[in-house]
Symmetry: C2
Subunit: 389 residues, 2 copies
């Protein structure tokens, strides 16, 4: 057995935890760069709570509220420049994965002079401390050392990138938030699609975490727990009420905790091939990240099961995954189909292009898929053919 575990974030889950534990925020610095998307942090009350906490602490802040879904390198450079110009000495990121990932990058860029074309892959030795307030229950960014961004810059700093934008990930232990404030109330009003798709994201983190070459005893413990928590919410998700506020607080809380625990798992193990494949759907179709993972899950898991059955040299992991899910794979795939509804379908041209692309996370998968396997998974998940679904 080998193990290399690190997750240094203080996680607090409690009603009104941001305000109640504001003294912890007070330890981070004098002036915050508050990073949010355009609307949701104001609509769900998280921004108001943050301002109340900062003011009670006598801390100043400046707001960067321009994070879009799938934030670009350009956006985070702007946020970093604002932090620098305003003399911010910490970052408070509020929102789903996009504002949190953007906040992490801004925390680096505020104190490192990194040209846009060099941000990905460059090592950095310092970053502002960051607190994260997740307002959706999916990304787990509040407990990971990753920032996933859209790279739009080509060589020499030229934009747009000739080959088109690409989703890339920056990983560093400096990107773990110092603090994660988990307050389920911010997610109470999220509609059916956002709730289901973010839950799919968290679930894919748990599942992919278990199927990573870097899975360890502790990452598996965490991944299984996140899966079990979400499994306990699947019925509620399948019968989502017409009024999103009618989904119980208990379910919202479970989903939020599950997503943070799944984040703790992938902070160790990373994700595997469906995540890389899903990025293409998000970039090309604008498919929500969690939904993209969900669309590819069945094909991937069935491919794993077939490979395990065919090759006795592979130590099987699907049985252990099914025990965490509390159901067999076919039943689980049935639930996923119900949650996904009508699947997006790719054209032959798209399938040919995507199936030929190398996938970064393939090497992290416990059974490394070849290019033909990736093509087959795309076909199976997205082809318009008449295969029964």
């Amino acid at each position: 057995m080998t193990l290399n575990y690190l997750m240094p974030t203080r996680m607090i889950l409690e009603d009104d935890c941001l305000y109640r534990n504001r003294f912890l925020l007070g330890e981070l610095g004098r002036k915050a760069l508050v990073v949010t998307g355009k609307n949701s942090a104001r609509a769900n009350g998280a921004y108001a709570d943050a301002v109340r906490a900062l003011e009670a602490n006598g801390q100043d802040h400046v707001l960067f509220q321009w994070v879009m879904s799938n934030p670009t390198d350009l956006c985070v450079h702007e946020a970093g420049a604002l932090a620098r110009a305003e003399g911010c000495d910490f970052v408070l990121a509020i929102g789903g994965g996009s504002p949190m990932d953007a906040g992490k990058a801004a925390a680096v860029l505020a104190v490192n002079n990194i040209p846009k074309e060099e941000f990905f892959g460059l090592a950095f030795k310092t970053a502002l401390p960051l607190a994260a307030v997740p307002t959706t229950a999916g990304t787990g960014s509040e407990t990971t050392p990753y920032s996933v961004l859209v790279d739009t810059t080509g060589p020499g700093g030229k934009t747009p990138r000739k080959e088109g934008p690409v989703k890339r990930s920056v990983g560093s232990s400096l990107l773990f938030p110092r603090l994660a404030f988990l307050d389920p109330k911010y997610s109470m009003g999220l509609n059916r699609d956002i709730t289901v798709h973010t839950a799919m994201d968290a679930l894919s983190h748990g599942i992919e975490g278990m199927l990573s070459v870097r899975a360890s005893h502790i990452s598996n413990l965490l991944a299984r727990e996140s899966i079990a928590l979400i499994q306990g919410c699947l019925d509620s998700l399948c019968t989502f009420p017409p009024d999103p506020w009618a989904l119980s607080r208990e379910v919202r809380e479970k989903l939020l905790l599950a997503s943070s625990i799944a984040g703790m798992a992938i902070a160790q193990s990373g994700t595997v091939v469906p995540h890389s494949m899903g990025y293409l759907l998000t970039l090309n179709w604008g498919t929500d990240h969690g939904r993209a993972n969900g669309l590819l899950m069945e094909s991937f898991l069935k491919w794993c099961r077939a490979r395990e059955a065919a090759d006795p040299s592979i130590a099987p992991r699907i049985p252990s995954l099914c025990s965490a899910l509390g159901m067999d794979l076919d039943r689980f795939c049935g639930v996923m189909e119900q949650l996904l509804g009508k699947r997006e379908k790719a054209t032959e041209k798209e399938l040919a292009a995507w199936g030929a692309m190398p996938m970064k996370n393939a090497a992290n998968t416990y059974i490394k898929p070849g290019q033909e396997d990736i093509m087959e998974m795309f076909q199976d998940a997205l082809a318009p053919g008449d295969a029964p679904r």
Copy 2:
């Protein structure tokens, strides 16, 4: 649900992990205070591995090898003074709980001018970074923010303390080690008693963690996992081989991982009343800390079970504990008796004195024991009467 989770230590479990990951040690500073007991760190090879790693990094070190079992305030002040005099900028603690807890205190005292009579209870804002190398599998100090020491100093700095020495605990997030290197090879030769008693310590951390008022969703997950890992070793402990080296590496590794995971649990939840009670056995009889916890476990758990049965307002925890143990309470107590062998017995005078003393961790117990309950537990665990054991 509320949750407040923090465990920022990087844990590495791997053969030869100290040398292989020496670059991490290299990030801690220029000169180490290496803290060990008198013999074991040399006998098991850990000190030699540490020197090899430090030298390969070009790091200097000075050795403090005078930590006794149950280290005193005087001992850790000496270690802190040595670190200061020698200009050490980090601490490397190698051994069981005693050297690790002493190393933590030295890391504080090296950079804080704290008189001996004020160390316990005083807040401090800085400490040297520390790496821990556990060579027994019990204390979990490598993943906790606690240092448990023997206070021998009375008011005005007078020693010995008039009321006699007392075990006291210092807790601060600054005391989490930065690094924990878990290498089962150092524990391979530990004899039957040390192995069993340290396993009892780890087991008591898991069990008490589940029975704390501060238990949380994540601390319970960790506590249950540590309990399950040790449960999987109980048969091997009950049939301990005449040659300690014949206990399999797999069992040693499981015990070591279990103790670190139990440490992660009590880092959140703290321990409960048996720990405070056991300190008296250690101080008065020199009973090993883990054995002391083991001696008190049965009486405590049966008291909890009886109180749960008698009072419907108590949310039962013993059933969940038994599910983690994979056996009912009576069977578990039978295994503990087998491992404990002949019990120590207290005199009437000792029982009367100890039973009348307030126990610090009582308030942390999910059912708060009154003084008469504590008296009853001592009686039940240690009385010479003819109650069947």
